[in-house]
Symmetry: C2
Subunit: 497 residues, 2 copies
Amino acid sequence: MAGCRLWVSLLLAAALACSATAVWPWPQYIQTYHRRYTLYPNNFQFRYHAGSAAQAGCVVLDEAFRRYRNLLFGSGSWPRPNFSNTLTINDEQCLLASQTVWGALRGLETFSQLVWKSAEGTFFINKTKIKDFPRFPHRGILLDTSRHYLPLSSILDTLDVMAYNKFNVFHWHLVDDSSFPYESFTFPELTRKGSYNPVTHIYTAQDVKEVIEYARLRGIRVLAEFDTPGHTLSWGPGVPGLLTPCYSGSHPSGSFGPVNPSLNSTYDFMSTFFLEISSVFPDFYLHLGGDEVDFTCWRSNPDIQAFMKKKGFSDFKQLESFYIQTLLDIVSDYDKGYVVWQEVFDNKVKVRPDTIIQVWREEIPVEYMKEMEQITKAGFRALLSAPWYLNRITYGPDWKDMYKVEPLAFHGTSEQKNLVIGGEACMWGEYVDSTNLVPRLWPRAGAIAERLWSSNLTTNMDFAFRRLSHFRCELLRRGVQAQPISVGYCEQEFEQT
Amino acid sequence: MAGCRLWVSLLLAAALACSATAVWPWPQYIQTYHRRYTLYPNNFQFRYHAGSAAQAGCVVLDEAFRRYRNLLFGSGSWPRPNFSNTLTINDEQCLLASQTVWGALRGLETFSQLVWKSAEGTFFINKTKIKDFPRFPHRGILLDTSRHYLPLSSILDTLDVMAYNKFNVFHWHLVDDSSFPYESFTFPELTRKGSYNPVTHIYTAQDVKEVIEYARLRGIRVLAEFDTPGHTLSWGPGVPGLLTPCYSGSHPSGSFGPVNPSLNSTYDFMSTFFLEISSVFPDFYLHLGGDEVDFTCWRSNPDIQAFMKKKGFSDFKQLESFYIQTLLDIVSDYDKGYVVWQEVFDNKVKVRPDTIIQVWREEIPVEYMKEMEQITKAGFRALLSAPWYLNRITYGPDWKDMYKVEPLAFHGTSEQKNLVIGGEACMWGEYVDSTNLVPRLWPRAGAIAERLWSSNLTTNMDFAFRRLSHFRCELLRRGVQAQPISVGYCEQEFEQT
């Protein structure tokens, strides 16, 4: 679909400046006028332009028209307007041109934020010209469904609000030490023995499909993460022999460490497992983790020591590299690209040049901007997350620090800067579940959304504060339990239903 | 009702130890046994004991029986049990004896936490003996409905969960600088001009009545706060002349400071206003504020300066004292007692000996325990809040620090210690509204509930962690959006309905 132009015309019905500053994230270029047009819900239509490559039947846009109509006017019925003196403006149109359906989705969102309602209940839109595009192609949110299980509805609701913020990547940290909620059809024992509850606390194949399709309709990619060799305790019960038995002196202690890199059976398992994952998740990229590998258990185990001796490895980073390289080769064979956490780079694992490195460590071992510099200097693409750990919460307007981050504020050539493909807001789940996810996520993640979408010149804090306050009220209107960023009120407050 | 004994018998129907550690806050004395009794929802009855002073018609208990029946078993219908082999245990009883209906309410709550459900869905209660009473008589939660308006439903919901935690005082910080949502019938302009929205963002007389009665039925007093002379900006528009005009040089700047203490009209207004408040809020105590009075505006105003000269006041603390003493005299005339923030004591305002001083400043000017020492040394009763500001949130298990506070850990005689009547968890509203109130309040406030209810010996952190985790799951079961305190899961997770 690239190359052909998509025209969506929004038929309005009648004719100032009031709400343009309501747009979040801020467009690259926007010009607003005092002249305003009235929108009549009964007569309002989204229509494909005759010259558009996409036409009725394009599910992504047909569905988006339906969603945005509802977001704009609600699902109630509206009194028929009196057209006697509004005839001349029936042919006013709002034109949205985009090269891709995904761009059209973003434009629809912007359009929906431009419409405002007078005290008398009339809908208006001001004459506006916008040219817009994202600054970075990868604008993600990470949800962790292992430390706490998140009901499917929480994930779907998050995808909705991500679209309102023009996020386009859902990084799904599916499994970790605590639980394994992903129901594998190749290895059903993983969930049966590794989930909190194999009936109620799992994601079935149908659930995963639903998430992927729900995301797709909103222009969001699903980047699935299966983190190894660390963070895998929950894999153990379902796959005997997969994890390294830790030793206490000369005997196994009964506890387990990272995936056992010394056994062929480990790689056989990973081949089969990632074959499934590669087919279940259609996105080109998989996230393979690779963070925080604790060497204590490997060090304690005599079989691991023997394996290292045989391989001539002098330190555990070499052992980790061996594991990860083997895994990456497996995944490459499935025609998948991969994203890994920064340790894979830090530990000098040899990876393909098209590997994407995600920077998450805030201070240690090196300041995160230094890390961005080093990764891009080595020619790898980089994703920034370190300053954007939304699970960490402090009292007050902590969105400001996150907003002020400039992802390219490191020393480097323009080629290096071009290798920064974006960033991700991370919501780790140690202290977060469906009870506090939404207010902790919104509108704080919005600060990151704007940093990743809008121009590097969009940095005025007062302007951002005003717009984010407004946007937060709009989120409440849309039913999102977004927390306040300062003293004040919204016309429509959140009320539990 | 004091003095006569109330007997409530809970008719059970059939006969182990599993759930006793589920009780939060922990009782003063508890003995549990392995022997268990089955509860059959269809046959379960709360009954007044024949010898009880309270009988059917006692609204507080009749209503509590209805609520707790629902909390225990839900409102569904239950299959009829087969009694063929349970005959002998029909006359098993659970006896709750209390000197007051309020104590009976607390006992019902404890009872409801002792009942547990087997995997097969059968309800059980273990043989248990409990003797319980609160360590401190004043166990409060402050909600701030000025910085953000809280819908009535948020307040009522909070009262429910307060009862689950055995809190007994709702400190309602009704108004402040930001807005005046309390609808006064004597001065309707206060709300009309001082609320965020005089239609949607107010508490009508009916709302206030409902809160008071809802609280009463749950054994909770409503302590209304109308904070003066500072924190009153929202009063200004509705009562011209009430606030001090600030000066810039020799001219009024257009902005306003605290209540103007130099005018007779101020005291006329306060007399009339607090006459209304004294009749609307039945509790003996009113909270009169008195915190954070900024002297800058008073200092700038020539009329204030002239008034001070006339009165012979050399500093602004004397002026503040003058105002507060006059106000306290007014309120005393209405046969009300009063609670004030610590500055009133710090600034050496002469107050009645039965004044209750609430300690809120964490470090300045003196460490809060030192403040407790000084207040009680002067013979005043004290309420502790300083370490319990729940609006302040940090990442991780921050309930632990709040739990570890020992309110009597100051130097002083046992007479001094006896003057500590309790404490309050405060949820200030600058960054809190109905979107994030519940997860920020629960179960964190539970830590404070137990500190104020249970023995000073109930300090084991592992034990508290286990029970609070369990209690939090019970809160989820009861529909409360209580946030997690660590990694894990509950059988029944929260799902937005």
